[in-house]
Subunit: 404 residues, 2 copies
């Protein structure tokens, strides 16, 4: 290993155990998406820069991986999944059934400063319904999100739900020439992380009076769900979301300015790194992106955080630890007996590896142990004569003879 | 749809039906890989250009997507999976159990001229065993490949198998100062596409005598398996590969110059676009790439061709066409009844979509039909009173009332 190149900062290799954990969580999420009638789509990793940039403007400019390809075209890497989906919908409009509900689980790229828990390439899991303004659509998105987290195995989740209209209604009276309502919302959004006094301080610095800032916070704390949001909340119960796992919270604001109605976040009690996902309704964005009038509601799962929480709560099931067997090779003369046994165990549905060389048995056991296999199969001259094999349980040490 | 940006040439969107077909084939392949004890890994899409370029040299220079990132680093997109895996093995050597068998199914990028069946972003499915020179390893690779194609549903496959040593042995006597043995192999490789006379012509143009060229072809046609290859072939039968689905073929050469031993190709009789995958033993490449002495044997599935063949033979199973139901919404007053029914059907394991708005029933039926759903559920005032719902089979037209 004279000269070892490394991965770029912010990028990751996934070792087998990590990749299996990722696949486990992704499998649960994807199955739930399918079960709710969401259909999979995929868009290219590379697109015209103009498409990828969407309406992000200058800030994204720095965060989008963009370059010139061999044909001198300005191209860029997928930055999110919403912008390419808008292009996709416009391109394939006649082939899609509306309201169109799709899921998309692909990697996105951000030329961001890498830091703990933040990567330059990471996986997003998105579901969205395009073409319905009905509270039913909002409720389906929230119910599917709930079902996905339940499928992963989380016992308790907390979904906090609000409506941009509630925020606008309560806070509009406090907007003035130096602080607009969206700027107030951005400060209010920090109430779950900062003490009230600090949020008031920020609002004052933005140009509100001290008393007004306090009144604004009080007004939002006392706000009630809109009629539309109440319908969504009622539907959640019908859709089987447990009453104690969602609640209206007028303080939830969500940072992105494109939301126009319901907004929500998913939190896992006991997981302190923050919300594991969030979404809401954005009825104007698709039109801005591709000129197509298309109301939309959706959610993005923070896949890495969700995985982290699943690991913390010990939810990952690894089949290699329960159903796997290494068929060892006794010696040169018995290679084909081991091969026949491996073929049989595979037919029986086991995860089964045939050790791919002639080696000392103790070395083969060590290999099985390091790889995390549950069992080893041994088939020597005695076993061949009797038509059996010896199965060693690497977790308990127990040995058993089994007929072939 | 005033202004419609498109995808770049050589890149593709996947519509739901296409993506489900891809997922079906990928699922069968991946399950087989797992069953044979191959472990999943992933490497980043972007790496240092120096890593990605590996030992490809000038030709690849033009085909690798490379650029300078914001930190002025020369970076490039994944071009294949072997080169990043060599880097991965060197980086994680102590965390891996050897012989290391891994699978890797990721997209790779080629700045190639796009043409029919050739894309700039496409999926590769690779399995390899690193750290064994034993014929057992070669046999495991071929047997796993066979099992994967069987799992997809192909009734007949043909695996043609050869050994670079057989080729070298038979053709070395015909090499001379103007044509080396590898150049002869490259011409011989065309025998399955060109008439013998044309291949002879090519060899003569390369500097062989007319008689010699004919003798070279005759020599290779009469070649017998090496002892090592015979062991591999014998093991395949033990591992359950049907005797009529593999054969020794001394004319198989495989283009890549890094193979050192067994080489093989997978063909589907009746699928005329060419072989759907191939591989072999390459005992020197990893050392060239990362300085680590590491014999290796593996196979790359041509995912797009495999999918194409699976479509041609009608092997794709689409659950949406058998197990899916759209719960319609009768009117505004019965929305929550539909929601409760949807929750129940989902619990029962159906793929179930709740139509996400209040709409004319006929419009909802049309939607279900366009999307390819099997059933529609209708729950109106009469059904609510009786505690039932009406299930309409969109394939047969049959209607059934079912208790909730």
């Amino acid at each position: 290993m004279s000269n070892q190149p490394q991965v770029l900062k912010g990028f990751r290799d996934f070792l087998p155990k990590e990749k299996r954990a990722r696949d486990f969580v992704m499998g649960k999420i994807t199955n739930t998406f399918k079960k709710f009638g969401f259909e999979p789509i995929e868009t290219p990793t590379i697109e015209y820069r103009e498409t990828i940039m969407g309406k992000y403007g200058d800030e994204a400019d720095k965060l989008v991986y963009s370059f010139e390809d061999n044909g001198k075209r300005a191209v860029a890497l997928r930055y999110d999944q919403t912008v390419p989906t808008a292009r996709f919908i416009a391109n394939h409009f006649n082939d899609l059934a509306f309201p169109f509900r799709r899921y998309q689980n692909q990697n996105v790229f951000r030329a961001d400063k890498p830091q703990k828990g933040r990567y330059r390439e990471f996986t997003q899991c998105d579901i969205d319904i395009f073409g319905s303004t009905d509270p039913l659509a909002d409720a389906e998105i929230i119910a599917c999100t709930y079902a996905a987290y339940k499928a992963i195995g989380f016992k308790q989740i907390k979904m906090v739900i609000n409506d941009r209209q509630v925020l606008m209604g309560a806070l509009q009276p406090f907007a003035n020439s130096s602080v607009n309502v969206f700027s107030i919302i951005q400060s209010i959004d920090k109430l779950d992380k900062l003490p009230v006094a600090e949020v008031i301080g920020e609002l004052v610095r933005k140009g509100m009076g001290n008393g007004e800032a306090g009144q604004a916070i009080e007004a939002i704390q006392k706000a009630k769900p809109s009629e539309n949001l109440q319908k969504i909340l009622d539907l959640l119960s019908s859709l089987g979301v447990a009453r104690d796992e969602f609640r209206f919270d007028p303080l939830i604001a969500r940072g992105l300015d494109y939301y126009t109605g319901m907004i929500f976040e998913i939190r896992i009690p006991g997981f302190t790194a923050g919300s594991v996902g969030g979404g809401g309704r954005y009825d104007n964005l698709i039109e801005q992106l591709c000129g197509l009038k298309m109301p939309a509601v959706g959610v993005a799962f923070g896949f890495d955080r969700t995985l982290e929480a699943a690991v913390q709560f010990n939810l990952i099931e690894d089949k290699v630890q329960s159903d796997s067997i290494l068929v060892t090779v006794f010696d040169e003369s018995l290679v084909s007996e081991s091969a026949v046994l491996a073929a049989k165990l595979r037919k029986d549905g086991m995860i089964c590896e045939l050790y791919p060389k002639v080696d000392k048995l103790v070395k083969q056991f060590k290999y099985a142990d390091k790889k995390g296999f549950r069992y080893c199969a041994i088939i020597g001259p005695d076993e061949v004569k009797k038509g059996i094999y010896l199965r060693k349980d690497l977790q308990t040490g127990e040995q058993k003879t089994i007929g072939i």
